[in-house]
């Protein structure tokens, strides 16, 4: 079943332009100049029920705007969208019962109150019966490991703790679809891991679909089945995460350590030397040009191998490469 279907979605904003300084401000007062910002330019995509879809792009790519249109907060200037069968901006309240949202940069929990109060309040807002709310809170408390945080005023929680409560709150009414806008922003590695684990568990157990925006590629790797890469309000790439890796992660990094000292000008055919140390070398090669087999045999013929590490370049680099390609194609 299709959870989200978007075709040719467009959103433009009018922003006032003003020259620098006081003179510019005065001029802008009498002759305002407007610049049209095209935040979303003809976006089309589909998302299946239960899918984990990543929406990746740099700042200002139109990710958040798209999410805000899909939740019904913003009205698009053109195009169609259907979320769980609703047109978001026309049926915002009906849709709200079915989806959960988290905007990583803004809190939805009441700042001065303990999270449990907001949870109970959300129970009322989503018209859940009290017994269900209670059971659900107990369940989410376990899934997100927030048992000892629930009774602390939210303002006293760390960002990581708060985010876990935020995501848990968004799942209280058992939504079919979770829209997460930058859920991992500002979090440290451990806190990110915590949130991802919980989201993955919830998705597996309840079949909730997750549309997640991020500018952090590691979110994708850890969570998503499929990725859509956007830039300047347009899709520049969409595929399964595994395909993305297969296609773009052909360049490998190799680090080797030998039992004896290596030559300063260490070089092997089909590989590029990045760094040479006294006993070790760091190289890179492309599997499309040089098979790993050949690389290994060449490396071992150069001396007695003590240690070897082969790794993929970080996904960030891959995505940067895709942006680069998209720019060149224009």
């Amino acid at each position: 079943m299709t959870a989200i279907s978007v075709s040719n979605l467009q959103k433009t904003f009018q922003t006032k332009r003003k020259a620098a300084g006081l003179g510019g401000s005065v001029r802008a007062l009498f002759q305002p100049e407007y610049a049209t910002v095209e935040a979303v330019r003809g976006l089309s995509f589909e998302m299946e029920q239960g899918e984990l879809l990543g929406f990746i792009g740099p700042n200002g790519a139109g990710k958040s705007t798209t999410i805000k249109i899909l939740t019904g907060i913003l009205h698009p200037n053109g195009g169609q969208a259907s979320v769980l069968g609703f047109t978001p901006w026309k049926e915002r309240q009906k849709l709200a019962f079915q989806i959960g949202t988290v905007f990583g940069q803004r809190p939805q929990l009441w700042y001065h109150l303990p999270a449990i109060d907001t949870f109970t309040l959300f129970g009322k807002i989503y018209e859940l019966d009290d017994a269900f709310t209670k059971k659900r809170i107990a369940f989410l408390t376990e899934a997100f490991e927030i048992g000892d945080l629930l009774e602390t005023p939210v303002r006293k929680l760390s960002l990581g703790q708060r985010m876990r409560c935020e995501v848990a709150a968004s799942l209280l009414h058992k939504p079919k679809l979770l829209l997460l806008d930058e859920p991992s922003i500002g979090l440290d590695v451990v806190a990110k891991q915590h949130i991802r684990d919980a989201i993955r568990t919830m998705s597996a157990e309840e079949g909730v679909g997750v549309l997640l925006t991020s500018h952090d590629a590691s979110d994708l790797e850890a969570l998503c089945h499929r990725v859509i890469i956007v830039n300047h309000g347009q899709i520049v790439y969409q595929d399964k995460v595994s395909n993305l890796k297969r296609k773009f992660l052909t360049r490998k990094l190799v680090e080797v350590r030998y039992a004896e000292e290596v030559a300063k000008n260490f070089a092997l055919e089909g590989m590029e030397t990045l760094k040479t140390g006294r006993y070790g070398v760091k190289l890179t090669f492309d599997t499309r040009q040089t098979p790993a087999d050949a690389v290994l045999s060449r490396l071992s013929s150069a001396g007695t191998l003590v240690d070897i590490t082969i790794s993929d370049p970080p996904l960030e680099e891959v995505i940067a490469m895709i942006y680069e390609q998209a720019r060149e194609e224009k």
Partner: protein
């Protein structure tokens, strides 16, 4: 409707998060009432009579205490909405299954109650000490009920200004104008009774008078007919403004452009 009641309750608890701040802010009623006391003492003395247009000196002070309580405890809703538009947090109030206006109504009422209570307590203590007991016990319940109407009215007007934020983002100029209108045409500094007849007639027909003058005047001369006519006036304005508000909301929501993120 249950959810709005709950929202009200949660905001009520929330407003107690910083009790020190709550009381501290209300202390401002002391200097205000002290200044009014001095000002009107001189005025009444200069006038040479104990009564001006039906109000005695103690009545005037009690009137001003109620008017100040309403003004000081009314929530700055226009500001709340326009801040939420500016920093983008309005995204959350718009994507929950509740009516945006009713949400703000419930929470702003929840914000008001304790503030009004503390203001009224501190204000009454001072005025009582300065000029003696309030004119009539009946004033309390009648004024309390019309205060609810006053805040509802304030809600409609502030929400109206707040909705302008969907388009212009910053509404502080409108808020300033609104506040000054409430000061002058609502009878916050000078009871409307002291105005010339023609100005009184204009002021009393406008919603500002139903917000401050109505309940405050009722407090010092509480009669059932006055109570009913204040309520009726409030009801008419609330109805008119609520309709306008709903229409404006529907129209403005599609203009909303969110900042940040």
């Amino acid at each position: 409707m249950k959810k709005y009641w709950h929202l009200f309750k949660v905001q009520l608890i929330n407003s107690l998060a910083y009790p020190g701040e709550l009381i501290g802010r209300s202390l401002v009623i002391f200097p205000f009432m002290w200044i009014f006391y001095q000002l009107w003492k001189v005025t009444f003395a200069a006038n040479g009579s104990t009564e001006i247009n039906g109000l005695t000196f103690p009545m005037t002070l009690w009137y001003l205490m109620i008017a100040e309580t309403i003004e000081l405890s009314r929530p700055r809703l226009a500001n709340t909405i326009s801040e939420a538009v500016k920093d983008g947090s309005i995204a959350y109030t718009l994507n929950k299954p509740y009516n945006f206006l009713l949400y703000h109504f419930s929470t702003s009422m929840g914000e008001t109650i304790f503030r009004a209570l503390v203001n009224a307590l501190l204000g009454s203590a001072l005025v009582w000490w300065l000029v003696g007991a309030p004119p009539s016990l009946l004033g309390w319940p009648l004024t309390l009920l019309t205060m609810l109407g006053a805040w509802t009215l304030n809600f409609c007007l502030s929400a109206f200004i707040g909705l302008a934020a969907f388009i212009v983002e910053d509404t502080s100029a409108f808020q300033w104008i609104y506040q000054k209108m409430a000061f002058i045409l609502g009878g916050l500094l000078i009871p409307l009774d002291f105005y010339p007849e023609w100005l009184q007639a204009i002021a009393k027909a406008l919603p500002f008078a139903s917000m401050t003058y109505g309940p405050a005047r009722l407090f010092v001369s509480p009669t059932i007919p006055a109570f009913l006519s204040t309520l009726a006036m409030q009801a008419i304005w609330i109805l008119v403004l609520a309709i306008l508000l709903t229409i404006t909301y529907r129209r403005n929501i599609s203009h909303l452009a969110l900042n940040g993120g």
